[in-house]
Symmetry: C2
Subunit: 190 residues, 2 copies
Amino acid sequence: MNRWEPNARGRLEAAALDLYVERGFAQTTVAEIAKQAGLTERTYFRHFADKREVLFGGSEELAQLIAATIADQPESAAPIDAAAAAVEAMGDRLQPRRERAVRRQGVIAANPELQERELTKLASMATTIADALRERGTPSPTAGLAAETAIGVFKVAFERWTTAGTSSDLAQLIRDSFTDLKALLAEVSP
Amino acid sequence: MNRWEPNARGRLEAAALDLYVERGFAQTTVAEIAKQAGLTERTYFRHFADKREVLFGGSEELAQLIAATIADQPESAAPIDAAAAAVEAMGDRLQPRRERAVRRQGVIAANPELQERELTKLASMATTIADALRERGTPSPTAGLAAETAIGVFKVAFERWTTAGTSSDLAQLIRDSFTDLKALLAEVSP
DNA sequence: ACCGGTGATGTCAGGCACTGACATCACAGT
DNA sequence: ACTGTGATGTCAGTGCCTGACATCACCGGT
């Protein structure tokens, strides 16, 4: 194996997912992941900040998608609608990767440390949404609230998606969940 | 110092908060915390699962409060109202501890690892709320959505509370945030 | 007053995540 | 060929966290 084999990062991601699925997150060492990818432990830590991060690669890309989607919304769109559009766009982006997403989610569901990291990523996306809303003039507290709400809806829909049959459509589940939420808040006491 | 000095757990919590505030989370070792509390590192790890957990002591107690509050709601209360009552009860519980909460929040705000743990605790509370709602007959997806929404509101209100003046009332801020959210969703496109 | 059980603490050894410092290698442009 | 640049390797070290076992204070029974 040449020292300069291309795509070291991708090889590390693949090796890690395989090993985490095969023998579990806690039972896998970073040294093993690196070895399977034909690299050393030290190199792993040059590509990923810690043992968990290797499972959360595309986050920055999704953040960009969110920001772009909200920026593209017409001015007339209400903040919550713009936020909804952003998470729907995420749904569309994730849809083709459903099989990998399910596999990954299995690993995450089996390990609290990984769930913790996932929550961090979702919170970061909420921040991205809120910032993008403020960028187009939404008042700060409103933006935060809309973002939190949108991410809450996303979490519920994503959970439904990964545990449902192959044919389910994430973006549609997101729309359904939003509808549910509106009904929920409509029956609230004034 | 006697080996059996009482309240080892409390001493560890106090020592940890002091040291984390004084020199930062990363620059503090568990051994130092233990020493300051008159204990050994090994004993620290018998009381707390890891270096972060020492800052999140009252979580189980809050979970109980949540469950009890929701169980006490009249049957006529809508799910979202029951969830709101739960987070308001949390607000009342935290209000007397505001000073400590602000201090703690400063440490957490300065460290991503601690923010990660905080998100985990909040997610756990969302689960507690959802379970309590299901217990009183709320359909499962509705319960999850109401819980996520209530926690989202709590986060926004808590943020306002810790960054605002001394006189602010957390429970009131929670109610205000809920009102804001209703307004937000009322202007949504149908 | 002794005595054994019980639970909290101490001691010791070790694995593994993660980091800093420095060496080494492949490749690109000159 | 020469040299700079960036990715990788090597090495040593710190600190988090755990298992196994010893030790200590207290409590209840005798």
